[in-house]
Symmetry: C2
Subunit: 497 residues, 2 copies
């Protein structure tokens, strides 16, 4: 086990750089995606957290609020789909750092990248990208981020994390909206320039972003006003009084409840229209609508392609931007690079935000959202070339190993298993849902859900919860049908009790 | 020149890890801090931006709003205090990526760090630190971030950048404030839990953070409501209606205007007290006061130690937290690790935020600001161990090479030069000010300022502006008196016209 990590460097091969191909059209060639040396299964030696984790937790708790820590990991010895903890437990990880590790642990291609002197210098010389970008920055944007841009979106702004990507995307939407009000003029009035300095209109206008109940878009003050998944995220923090519409709550299985679910779509969309009208009238116009393609943190709540198509049409009709937040769904786990590609929209959304699996953050947008003046969407770093470097390696492996195809295959196996289980254990599971390996299933109560997650950990599987009643699966893109078999086998054991 | 970068790896020595010493008590031993191979002076071959930079700018502009870009850099060949651009110009950099590169470019100790297999794995396996921290995380916090904690602050929360550090620090202050209102109880009312989900009081309370005119605390929506440096940062973006007090505007030289400046302090502090009373009365109590120890982006505006002492006392009296934002001032450029250490405060501030030179972001705080529940100050990544790794290397060099002493020496030389110049060229410069190498000088107009900065660039010196009229110096901590001589010599040539 201790050798695993070291070996994976020596077996690494020279990485092939992305050379202008589009990742969307992957070849179907088979490839062994299992990293050499990956454990053949989980091993559980102690309680989790074990004694060493508990001791470290005590130390950490003396420095900060560490109540959310589940275990301390041994990242040097974790590999592929397997997370090793400090007590020597080896866990099949289907949660993958809240869905942020596309190639699992210690992927040899990524370690190999760090031996290149240019790449080392990229890590050490972090520039203020908005002022002094490096020689290769435009090419990197083109050959990495724009290779996977959502169809129809040609503009890219880089950031650091999901919250700041959404925050800056909202800002960008507000600039676009006000620019429209000016009818194309590029100059600001003295009153606007003066009043904004003390947070007053007209310079600081009363505008809003419409969001949905159950949504999660981040935790800084702007995006937190559009987050509505759990009270613990929001309580005691001031918020903007912005409109919040209902998100569809479907009955499952979908094929048996088409009529009810269509009515649910209709009800929610009517609410969106009512809220836009209401907020426009009360002087806080809706400049944009933000929505996740699958509400992740809020419980893996899905809506139909038709819902998203109609939402886009409502946004257009009302002069509001449509922002699709792909922070958790982006990067391949649904079997496509972007989840909204499943929706057959009438043209691209106006703005698409990303982070997590893409290592850095940022947003793609239509060209009419490009701010007319510099320094309006700006900060010291504007992203991080060292993260783009890792993303380049990740995309190369996704392409080389046809990982989006693998996601579809492994996802199908997982979904079939979950559907079987919900028939077999209807008192424990229902509403198996999702796309690719981005899957979830609900439990009748939070207690049952938490109990299943805890017992799976004892069986050596690291899962995650979402919403109040759901289990979410967020394996890495290198999760194979064999890993799916192993997961399902352990899950069945746990469900049997 | 092209060899420079490569050589610096081979001359690197094994890094000594920090072993529990406090950086505040540096030994005075002399050390050669100049990186082997650093150019002996600037070389300017083309206009800046030169033809290659211009071509790259065109490419970048087709992908994003790139109007703030000054040049494209060749980071592989930049070294120490010298930035090399893609046209082969070699610039003495006294701006250093908006003050975020403490050891300049390609410091051998930092490159050496990246050859360690454990460190490589730290870069590749980025965890969700709030849930699955690595085995060495508590120790890293203790041996790196807490080694330089502001005196009296024992708690640390890590983040990613300046904006999100301040955003989360504000949140933390709001939690603390509401907790006080509950009188120590730990439970929330059903009404609070329900109302916060739709952004309404009492769960989303009307609370405020008091800030100062001229301040810069970041650009996401919460902190942008406390930023008041330039309209272009704020216009068209909704803001919280929070109180904004005047920040002292001193007359220089300070020693000739003691009485006026004292009166200025008094006026501003009275305004703070009035605003607190006013906002408390109108139902938007001031939960915290945020202030930079030197207003950086806003024009390097200083206030006296006595101003900060009294501000702290006003905060205490009114039950508001005092947050000192050291994002730009922290990490040594004022000659102390934290600028507020110059102020002889009556005990530590409640919260101190950092980022930039510290590579990651975060905040130190008093233990009564530790949230009682987990998941309240939280996000996927909660910082970045790969940045803490770089910070560890940086602090080691600061200690080994006594860089805080060097900052004091080089700063003294720079300041003496600026003071000389403002006597010699009173029609061009006035109000030389600052601490350490964190220095500024003002010009009679924006045009004169911009002209001086542009002409210095032609002489091979990269400077930065701040506010409307000021030039700011933000060299790396490895900037020596010899570099100061060179800078002053070029500046004199430019001032002579």
């Amino acid at each position: 086990m201790a050798q695993m990590g070291r070996n994976c460097i020596s077996i690494a091969k020279k990485i092939n750089l992305l050379n202008g191909f589009k990742l969307k059209t992957q070849s179907a060639r088979a490839a062994s995606t299992v990293i050499a040396g990956e454990p053949s299964g989980p091993t559980v030696k102690t309680d989790i957290p074990g004694p060493k984790s508990k001791q470290l937790l005590e130390e950490l708790n003396s420095l900060q609020q560490a109540g959310a820590v589940q275990l301390f990991a041994d990242y040097d010895n974790s590999l592929g789909n397997y997370l090793v903890d400090v007590d020597g437990n080896v866990l099949l990880d289907v949660y993958m750092q809240i869905s942020s590790m596309p190639l699992g642990y210690n992927h040899p291609e990524l370690l190999q990248l760090l031996t290149d002197p240019h790449n080392m210098k990229t890590i050490v010389n972090r520039p203020a990208l908005g002022v002094f970008p490096g020689a290769d920055w435009p090419n990197k944007l083109k050959n990495v981020l724009l290779q996977i841009s959502p169809p129809g979106l040609s503009q890219i702004t880089t950031m650091m994390c999901g919250s700041c990507s959404n925050e800056n995307a909202y800002k960008n939407i507000f600039l676009w909206y006000q620019q429209k009000q000016r009818g194309g003029g590029t100059s600001f009035s003295q009153q606007e320039m003066d009043s904004c300095m003390i947070n007053q209109p007209p310079g600081s206008p009363s505008l809003s972003i419409l969001s949905f109940k159950g949504a999660f878009h981040g935790r800084t003050l702007g995006v937190l006003s559009t987050t509505h998944s759990k009270y613990i995220h929001k309580i005691d923090v001031p918020a903007f009084d912005w409109p919040v519409a209902s998100f569809p709550e479907y009955k499952y299985p979908l094929e048996e409840h088409e009529r009810e679910n269509e009515a649910e779509d209709k009800k929610c969309l009517a609410e969106v229209e009512d809220l836009i009208e209401k907020y426009n009238k009360r002087g806080t116009p809706v400049a944009g609508i933000v929505v996740e393609p699958i509400q992740s943190e809020g419980g893996d709540n899905e809506a139909s392609p038709s819902f998203f198509q109609k939402l886009q049409s409502i946004a257009k009709k009302n002069g509001a931007a449509l922002l699709i937040d792909e922070v958790q769904t982006g990067g391949g786990p649904t079997g496509k690079m972007w989840c909204h590609e499943h929706f057959n929209l009438d043209g691209p959304p106006d703005v698409v935000t990303f982070s997590k699996k893409l290592q850095l953050g940022g947003y793609y947008h239509k060209s009419d959202f490009k701010p007319l003046q510099p320094y309006r969407v700006f900060n010291t770093w504007m992203g991080d070339p060292s993260k783009l470097l890792l993303l380049q390696g990740i995309l190369n492996v996704i392409q080389r190993d046809s990982l989006l195809n693998l996601v579809q295959k492994s996802g199908e196996k997982l979904m079939n298993g979950l559907k079987e289980f919900q028939k077999e254990f209807p008192h424990l599971l229902y509403a198996a849902r999702g796309r690719g390996t981005f899957l979830a299933v609900s439990c009748p109560s939070t207690k049952i859900r938490d109990d299943l997650v805890a017992r799976m950990k004892k069986k050596g599987v690291q899962m995650g919860g979402c919403g109040d009643y759901s289990i979410r699966l967020r394996p890495a893109l290198i999760f194979t049908p064999k890993h799916a078999d192993l997961f399902l086998e352990r899950f069945r054991q746990v469900l049997k009790g």
